[in-house]
């Protein structure tokens, strides 16, 4: 009986390792591919002399692709989108958690429904609209449209964090002599700080990973790194090693952030899911 348990335990571990090999292999392969010199691309698979030329080319703007600019664009646009969503979403989340009133339920429902609409429904009209308004290929245009991704996430999750706080702490502050605004900033906000950190990073990752908005609504100036990674595949001689390097560079910020907030992710992933 014990032997059977040991055996099934080993089999389970083996199956688990098999899955994780499947999960991590593409990333590993990208590393290998990105370190391959161009002349060895088609000749060998695993034995080659590694070189950093691929990365130098990508970051140095070879093929006329301003990859570093794309990376900076991604950074600016993602940080901007999250900042705007926090500024607008935190008060709304607080109001919705503390007070029950008709407007808040409607707002919540509308924000949730954003998640189910196809992105192109809003992008195609914006494609036309942005050109008229001069927002095409601009930071402002991208930050605005990314609200579709970041605002619902931030409002939903922060609402549940605020609702978890007992109102008595803020009431104690009121009786100490603080106004409601001060009670919010001195008591409520510090207590949800870990929540804000986690949800900001998660929203940043989603904004960074977005592809379809920048694909259509940007061109050369504000293009992000997710679109830029495809640039090396075009033409009759696609540069696979450069593409691999570009892909890896573009994946570094989300991966680093994900490892930081790994513990808080369950709440973020099930946002809206269980509640609705």
């Amino acid at each position: 009986m014990r032997v059977r348990k040991r055996l099934s335990g080993l089999l389970a571990d083996a199956a688990l390792i098999l899955y994780f090999v499947f999960a991590l292999f593409p990333i590993a392969w990208m590393v290998i591919l990105s370190l391959k010199p161009t002349n060895q691309l088609f000749s060998t698979y695993f034995s080659f002399s590694p070189t950093l030329d691929g990365y130098r080319a990508v970051l140095g703007g070879s093929e006329g692709v301003p990859f570093v600019r794309f990376f900076v664009n991604s950074l600016v646009v993602s940080v901007g989108a999250v900042a705007l969503s926090l500024a607008v979403g935190l008060p709304a989340a607080y109001a919705s958690a503390r007070w029950r009133f008709k407007g808040s339920d409607n707002l919540m429902f509308t924000l949730l429904s954003f998640r189910f609409a196809p992105e192109l429904t809003v992008i195609i009209p914006l494609f036309v609209l942005y050109q008229k308004l001069g927002l095409f290929d601009t930071y402002v245009g991208m930050v605005w449209v990314l609200q579709l991704v970041t605002l619902p996430l931030i409002v939903w999750i922060m609402r549940s964090y605020f609702a978890d706080l007992t109102p008595e702490l803020e009431q104690a502050a009121l009786l100490d002599g603080y106004s409601r605004k001060q009670a919010f900033f001195k008591v409520a906000l510090p207590l949800v700080r870990p929540g804000i950190a986690a949800v900001s990073l998660l929203a940043f990752i989603f904004a960074w990973n977005n592809f379809v908005f920048p694909l259509i609504l940007t061109s050369n100036e504000a293009q992000t790194v997710t679109v830029g990674a495809l640039s090396f595949l075009g033409g009759d001689r696609p540069k696979y090693n450069l593409t691999a390097a570009a892909a890896l560079v573009s994946v570094v910020p989300p991966l680093l952030l994900a490892l930081t907030i790994q513990r808080y992710l369950v709440r973020g992933l099930s946002f809206g899911a269980v509640k609705s």
């Binding site: 335990g9 389970a12 571990d13 199956a15 688990l16 899955y19 994780f20 999960a23 593409p26 392969w29 591919l33 691309l41 088609f42 698979y45 705007l84 500024a87 607008v88 008060p91 709304a92 109001a95 919705s96 503390r98 009133f101 407007g103 808040s104 707002l107 509308t110 924000l111 954003f114 189910f116 609409a117 196809p118 192109l120 429904t121 195609i124 009209p125 914006l126 036309v128 609209l129 605005w144 609200q147 605002l151 409601r180 592809f211 997710t226 990674a229 495809l230 696979y240 593409t243 573009s250 994946v251 989300p254 991966l255 994900a258 790994q262 992710l265 369950v266 992933l269 099930s270 269980v274």
Partner: protein
Amino acid sequence: MGWRLALRPYLLIVPALLLTCGILYPFGLGLYYTLFDFSASKPQPDMVRFENYATVFTQEAFWNSAWVTVLYAVGAAAVETVLGVAVALLLHRSSLVGRILEKILILPLMIAPVIAAIMWKLMLQPSVGVVNHLLKPFGLGGVQWTDTPTGALLSSIAVDVWVYTPFVAILALAGLRSLPTSPFEAAAVDGAGWWYTFRRLTLPMLWPYVLVAVIFRFMDSLKVFDIIYALTEGGPGDSTVVLQIRAYLEAIRFQRYSFGISYTIVLWAVVYLAAMVLVRHLGRIQRRAAEVVK
């Protein structure tokens, strides 16, 4: 003075409301455009009422896209569910291996789907890709993964599975960890085998969590765009043109704006309908699961 207090919550949500209205405006505008024949070649369109939708529904391309989209969504959601639950069960056993690997479970999910598609594209590429190379000793090398209709669809589903299985696994794992232990202890005392425990206890109690994940994945896969665009661009031919890719082609490539938006509205209706049906189904399953536990 009382009215000022009552006003305060509304003041707090005004910025969010303004932003939301700002986002809703293009939605409304898009809906409005579908009633015209707006395109790059016709910047002053005429009102055609529901002609666009009629054309959509009578086009063979639409039904082809719809079929491919459904195949994709069902395939991806099904594989992700089974694999995700399996991984969650394996991790729940909490061995040393499991605890280490759990920390990196989330990684594929954090990679932009388009980048994941690029990675797989490179792996499946016949001349440079590693997949064929590894399959050669098994006699399977030489398959043109992205050049055949079936292969293209399967490859796309594979990328979706690769990225989103952790989503199901994480939710299922959280669900497993929140289940009460007493029914399982009772079953162990009664001498129940693993399969029996799984079928009669674990699965029914876990089902509500899993179904939430499945619904979300199914609805998101109906809207897939990034993965197909990067991997196959809809090809070969039209074999992987899902509905949102079709909308993109019509609106941005062919610049038939109204027509393209009509495709997205139809897709939106499909997703909404799927949500209604599945949520009702969820309610029924949850009630059944609650009875089983009793």
